[in-house]
Subunit: 200 residues, 2 copies
């Protein structure tokens, strides 16, 4: 069935699951799958950084030295977010906008800068560390010596991912219910959501 409130409805389910798990530090951790340039799947844990501008796009921070090559090869991703305590799973698929420091859109650069300053100092430090997956050298130093100045603007490898959602598959294993929310566009290009109840 088509429904103007379907978008509000899936987002309400996500927010409600976050709320009822807010006492658990790890409730903001989710797994994001992408497709590597060799065509094989890739999967990793990331942190949910909120909905962009209180809308319906999901924000994730990452290091451009990690899975960005995957996303350049295939811009689609699927999040799997399982709330273990309440037995609820969200599988959220969509297209990813990769926003690094070279982006030509001033608005997107501003979003990226805002995400940078929302990071903890510990998170910021990670982006100054030696490149992930390169052979570890016990003597190596961080690529930049962190000073207060280092953090006054976002570092080059800091990357904001914005997931433009195409489908939300909500599974509740307690009530044994499954809802599929699907995004579509109407004649004027506006996104609208429809929802179907399917077998779990």
């Amino acid at each position: 069935m088509g429904s103007p409130s379907a978008a509000a409805s899936w987002k309400q389910l996500v927010l409600s699951s976050i709320q009822s798990n807010s006492h658990l530090n790890h409730s903001s951790f989710l797994q994001i799958a992408s497709v590597a340039s060799n065509g094989r799947p890739s999967n990793r844990t990331v942190v949910f950084r909120g909905f962009q501008d209180d809308g319906h796009k999901i924000q994730i921070n990452t290091d451009s030295r990690t899975h960005i090559d995957d996303l350049k090869h295939c811009p689609f991703a699927e999040i799997c977010w399982y709330f273990t305590n309440i037995w609820e799973q969200f599988r959220i698929g969509g297209q990813v906008d990769v926003i690094d420091g070279t982006n030509s859109d001033p608005f997107k650069l501003q979003q990226r800068e805002r995400s940078w300053f929302a990071c903890s100092l510990k998170s910021m430090m990670q982006y100054l560390a030696p490149a992930p997956w390169l052979l570890f050298a016990s003597e190596q130093q961080p690529t930049e010596t962190p000073t207060l100045d280092s953090f006054m603007s976002s570092v080059g490898v800091f990357c904001l991912l914005v997931l433009n959602l195409g489908q939300v598959d909500y599974l509740n294993l307690k009530s044994n219910e499954r809802l599929i929310f699907t995004a579509g566009q109407d004649g004027s290009g506006e996104t609208h959501w429809s929802v179907e109840k399917v077998n779990p």
Copy 2:
């Protein structure tokens, strides 16, 4: 560096993480990514069903009406297994052997049968339920009426997935260490593992 004990070593890390999280019901839940036939990534939560015959292959049960089409299209998968309490992540990639009731290998059929009888009654019931993702009909009945006989042999849609591991990426966010274990074959076709310490 090449090392004969590298396989033992990554498996020991997995077993140790399982052990230290055994008080948490959800510690056996992991996310498995595959590539759908449209080339997009797919991601879902499944349950770790142990190592096959105490070896190095990972077993997962699934319903052939779910992501098996993905695996027929692209037989590779990547598991992401995050142990939230101890801050340890395993990303485990490899090729998946899909064993359903039509498999021609008697040994594999035996493995599948063994996995079936290791299921709880509740798990078994799921395989008798109406097909996942089909439109929910409030009046529908299970496709088979479960009787004791129903469970005396595995049902048709029950599927054993066996992941033949190619790489294990172990990340410890407490000690800030990352190890990459890679499988290779020697001249006689035996699998051997090498391990490298890389930047986290």
